[in-house]
C-alpha cells in the first residue's frame, strides 16, 4: 500500500541543543508549521549525560551543567508548543526531502518544505583504532561510560586507563575518581593534550592522574574481562609505537576518548556532499548544504567545543531555512559543492587546479596550517554583513597569524593569535567593510608564522 506523505514546512532532525535552538528560532521568525523528531525518550541530546558545569557562559552568562542547559531549551520548546515526535527515528531522507520515520505509532512518511539536520555526532569506536588484543569486556568509549555512570548510576570499572586526552576523556577521569574508581593514567598519542588546559589541571593534576603524552595502547589483555593494557611511547614524527619500550599497566577498564564523528548516514542518503576534513556536510554561509532546502547545524556539521556556539549556529540555520521557505520562487542554486578543495592541503595543487570558476559559489580553501574550515563556500548572491569562519589548526602554533587571501594571493584580512591548537576550534570574523570586490575563483585560509 502506498502511503501519502504528510506535509510539514520545516522538519528538524535531532532534539539536542542544535535542534531545540533551531526550532525556537524558526518560530520566532514567524514559522508555525514545524516538527522536531528525536529518537530518544527525552529532549536535550548528549547534554543530559554531561553533568559537569561549564555550559552556557556565553549564551546565558552563567555556568550551567549539561542537563540544566538542556532543560532551559527543552522547557522553552515545550512552552512554545512546537510539535515534536519522541522515540522516533528518521531512517531516510530523499534528495527531494521526503522523510521515512519509524515512530511508536508505526512508519510515517513526511514531505518537508525544508529540513534542518541536527543529529549530532558519535564517538570513534574501538574498531576504528585497530588495537590488537582480546575482545574482552571492559573496553568502551568514554561517552558510553559517561552515559552508564551519569544516567544509570553504573560504574564501568574500578581501575581505569583512558586512551585519548580530549575533553570527554579528561572529564571522565575526574568523574570516575569522584565516584571511587582509580584512574591509572590518561594516554595521549600526540605530544599535547587535545583538551582544554582547565580540564588538564582540574581533572588530572588535581588528582595526580598521570598524563602520558606521545604514548599509545598497543595491546589489551584479558579473557572475559580486561586485566591490563600494554603501553608504548610513539615516535614524535611518525607516531609509530616503539615496541622495544613497552610497559604493562594493570586495569579492568579501558576508556576510548579518541574523537567524535558527525552522524551523517542520513545526509549521504539525501545526496548531501560531505567535507572530508570535518566529515560533516559542506555548507555555504547560510549553512545550506549541497541539496537545496537541507540545512545543517551543531555537531552533525562540525564538532564543536562549546554548546553555546552550537545554539547560535542552529539559530542561523533556522533563519536560513525560513528564508528558503519564504522565497521558494527563487531558482535553486545549481552549484557544485564538491569542488573547491585541494585533496590534501599539504601537497602540491592537483592537475586541473584551479577548478573551473563557478558563477554562484566562492570556495574557501583550507590552506597550509588549517585542518578544516566551516563554511567551505560562500554563495555570492547572498553576501553577508559579517562572515564568521570556524576553523581547526592542523597542529599547535604559537604567535601566528591567520590570513585570508583571495585567488591572486591578495590579503583580505589578517589576525594575530598568541596560540592556536587543534584542541580548540578558532574563529575569524570578516566584517562587511573588509569584503572585497568578489573577483577571484576562490579564497584561501592559512596560518602564517
Amino acid at each position: 500500500m502506498k502511503v501519502m506523505p504528510e506535509k510539514v514546512s520545516l522538519v528538524i532532525i535531532g532534539g539536542g541543543p542544535a535542534g531545540l535552538a533551531a526550532a525556537l528560532e524558526a518560530q520566532r521568525q514567524g514559522l508555525t508549521d514545524i516538527l522536531l523528531i528525536e529518537r530518544d525518550q527525552q529532549l536535550g541530546g548528549i547534554l543530559n549525560q554531561c553533568i559537569h558545569t561549564g555550559f552556557g557562559l556565553h549564551y546565558f552568562g552563567e555556568e550551567l551543567s549539561g542537563p540544566e542547559y538542556a532543560d532551559r531549551f527543552s522547557t522553552a520548546f515545550t512552552t512554545a508548543g512546537i510539535a515534536c515526535l519522541l522515540e522516533s527515528h528518521v531512517l531516510e531522507i530523499t534528495p527531494d526531502r521526503v522523510l521515512t520515520v519509524i515512530s511508536p505509532l508505526g512508519i510515517r512518511k513526511i514531505a518537508a518544505g525544508a529540513v534542518i539536520l541536527a543529529m549530532g555526532c558519535r564517538e570513534r569506536p574501538r574498531g576504528a583504532l585497530g588495537i590488537p588484543g582480546t575482545r574482552c569486556a571492559g573496553v568502551l568509549t568514554a561517552g558510553m561510560a559517561q552515559r552508564l555512570l551519569n544516567l544509570q548510576g553504573m560504574m564501568p570499572g574500578q581501575s581505569i586507563v583512558i586512551l585519548g586526552s580530549g575533553d570527554i576523556g579528561l572529564i571522565m577521569a575526574r568523574r570516575l575518581t569522584l565516584e571511587g574508581a582509580k584512574v591509572e593514567a590518561v594516554v595521549e598519542l600526540m605530544p599535547y593534550s587535545s583538551g582544554l588546559t582547565r580540564n588538564v589541571v582540574q581533572c588530572l593534576q588535581d588528582y595526580e592522574i598521570p598524563l602520558l603524552l606521545s604514548h599509545t595502547v598497543v595491546e589489551t589483555h584479558g579473557r572475559e574481562r580486561l586485566i591490563g593494557v600494554t603501553l608504548a611511547p610513539v615516535h614524535p614524527q611518525s607516531r609509530k609505537p616503539d615496541l622495544a619500550q613497552t610497559r604493562f599497566i594493570a586495569c579492568d577498564t579501558l576508556l576510548l576518548s579518541v574523537g567524535l564523528i558527525p552522524e551523517n548516514e542520513l545526509s549521504l542518503g539525501a545526496g548531501v556532499v560531505l567535507d572530508p576534513a570535518t566529515r560533516g556536510p559542506r555548507v555555504d554561509q547560510r549553512l545550506g548544504t549541497s541539496q537545496p532546502g537541507i540545512f545543517a547545524c551543531g555537531n552533525v556539521l562540525h564538532v564543536h567545543d562549546l554548546v553555546d556556539d552550537v545554539s547560535r549556529e542552529a539559530e542561523q540555520a533556522a533563519r536560513s531555512a525560513v528564508a528558503f521557505l519564504n522565497e521558494t520562487d527563487l531558482p535553486a542554486p545549481q552549484a557544485d559543492f564538491s569542488t573547491g578543495r585541494l585533496p590534501d592541503q599539504h601537497l602540491a595543487a592537483p592537475a586541473g587546479w584551479p577548478f573551473p570558476e563557478q558563477p554562484s559559489l566562492l570556495p574557501i580553501l583550507a590552506g597550509p596550517g588549517i585542518r578544516s574550515v566551516v563554511p567551505q563556500l560562500i554563495s555570492r548572491d547572498r553576501i553577508p554583513e559579517t562572515l564568521r569562519l570556524a576553523f581547526r589548526p592542523a597542529r599547535v602554533y604559537r604567535s601566528a597569524s591567520i590570513c585570508l587571501r583571495d585567488g591572486q594571493g591578495q590579503l583580505i584580512i589578517k589576525s594575530q593569535r598568541r596560540i592556536l591548537t587543534p584542541g580548540e576550534e578558532a574563529r575569524l570574523t570578516i566584517p562587511a567593510s573588509h569584503w572585497p570586490a568578489v573577483t577571484a575563483g576562490h579564497w584561501q585560509l592559512s596560518i602564517e608564522v
Binding site: 553533568i51 551519569n150 544516567l151 548510576g153 588546559t197 582547565r198
Partner: protein
C-alpha cells in the same frame, strides 16, 4: 607589606615556604602559561612567567584560596536514575573530599526538580547543594 597568610582552607600544594618555589598552570587560555611563584623579602607573593595579567591573578587565587566546581550524583530512593547535583559555588579545594563525603551521605526522595536546594550551608561554609535534574 604584611605577609599574606594562606587562607585556612589552603590545600597542601598551596603551602609554599619562603624560599621554595611552586609552579601553577594558568587555565585562562590554551597557552597554559606556567607561573612561577616565589616570596619576596617582605613575604609578598611574586609571580613570573605569565604572558598576560590574568596569569598572576590566577596564580594568586590558586596560592591563597583555590576553589573547584563540584558536581556529582546521589542515588534517590525509588528512582532508577541517580540525581545529578552541583554546589551553589565552587568549593575550597582543601575541603573538596569532605564535601563529596557529606553530599554522598544525603538521603533523598522524589519528586525533585532542577534548581531545588537539597542542603544548605554544607560544612558551615554557606555553600548549598542544588539539583541539576528533575526526577518526578
Amino acid at each position: 607589606m604584611s605577609k599574606p597568610t594562606p587562607d585556612a582552607n589552603h590545600s597542601p600544594d598551596s603551602l609554599v615556604s619562603p624560599d621554595s618555589l611552586t609552579t601553577i598552570t594558568c587555565t585562562g587560555c590554551p597557552m597554559g602559561c606556567l607561573v612561577s611563584v616565589t616570596q619576596g623579602p617582605g613575604g609578598e607573593w611574586q609571580f613570573s612567567g605569565a604572558q598576560c595579567p590574568r596569569g598572576d591573578i590566577h596564580a594568586r587565587q590558586e596560592i591563597t584560596h583555590p576553589v573547584r566546581p563540584l558536581t556529582t550524583l546521589i542515588p534517590v530512593r525509588g528512582s532508577r536514575i541517580p540525581l545529578s547535583v552541583k554546589t551553589s559555588q565552587p568549593v575550597p579545594k582543601a575541603l573538596f573530599w569532605d564535601f563529596v563525603d557529606q553530599i554522598h551521605r544525603l538521603e533523598l526522595e522524589r519528586p525533585i526538580h532542577t534548581g531545588d536546594i537539597l542542603a544548605e550551608n554544607l560544612l558551615g561554609t554557606g555553600i548549598a547543594l542544588l539539583a541539576t535534574r528533575t526526577l518526578d
